[in-house]
Symmetry: C2
Subunit: 181 residues, 2 copies
């Protein structure tokens, strides 16, 4: 396997990782993190990380979106995996760009769809916090703080009309008349 080199492909305007033998372009794209601020009777669910980076620090149930799922499905999956919680999404609370990491975060506001939660394999502990009890010095990432403050600012307020796929194609999986999207 030849080492990929950074070069500007014909017709493009920026350097891409390209195979000098066959010309294959390995596009690098930002990754999507999906997560939720889950509140139960005004208390916020946080997970203490069992994995690096930031092991032992508190975070929201969130993680990388997988192929073939929607952002909503991804957010529900992460809440299940990290907090063993079945959640009900209320709407998009925030969209954050972490350009440093090539990351976009889509954060929902949510409640529980069924009672109960517990630490999943990636969490040491899952706990509810009153706003005044949040361990701000032990929060894993800046964007977790952003999302918590955003939740607080929007507490009890509507998040606006739903902005997601229309009911007839909730997962974006219907066949198309033409090629493409």
């Amino acid at each position: 396997m030849a080492a990929f080199v950074r070069t500007i492909p014909e017709g493009d305007d920026r350097a891409r990782l390209t195979c000098p033998d066959c010309g294959y372009v390995a596009y690098e794209n930002p990754k999507i993190v999906v997560g939720s601020v889950v509140a139960i009777d005004g208390r916020i669910l946080l997970c203490r990380r069992a994995i690096e980076p930031r092991r032992g620090f508190w975070t929201l149930p969130a993680g990388y979106m997988e192929m073939a799922e929607t952002v909503e499905e991804g957010a529900r999956r992460e809440a299940w995996e990290e907090a063993q919680a079945r959640i009900a999404l209320e709407g998009v609370l925030a969209v954050y760009s972490i350009a440093r990491l090539g990351q976009v975060q889509v954060i929902f506001r949510a409640g529980l769809a069924e009672p109960g939660f517990a630490a999943g394999p990636e969490s040491l502990e899952v706990k509810l916090f009153d706003w005044d009890e949040i361990p701000w010095e032990e929060i894993a990432f800046p964007s977790v703080r952003w999302a918590l403050h955003r939740w607080r600012a929007m507490e009890g307020l509507p998040l606006g009309l739903p902005a997601m796929n229309p009911p007839e194609d909730l997962r974006g999986t219907r066949p198309l008349p033409g090629a493409g999207l």
Copy 2:
């Protein structure tokens, strides 16, 4: 170079493209499309595609987000590339998941920041349409229709509080106390 195979890496729960020689896992993640419904005095800017798929059909200025940019920067870049328009973003109009394609679309509502627009290299033509003039039969993709209807439903209505990065870290590029996000 050995052919990658689909296998479940240790500690994972789904099949990944993996090199049988060295164990390298090539994660596949959904891609982010950023775009805008740009309106000028109630008329909507559409671009007629000069490239496949759906060459000759009408679309919004939108495209794949690049590394090291924010969603807002990506949306402004695409409006410039495809419609030679300098746009001013008003807020997130919609977040669509196209699970079929492993794609998430973040669509903004926007106006012009400076007068003027023209066809960029990927557009045959760029034009303003009154709502009643939109060529629905010649729209490139279902999600363009969704976004246009969403724009219409929200016309003149607030999009809610800003849900983006806080002013002190607009691009998500500030150094961190710890590792990670």
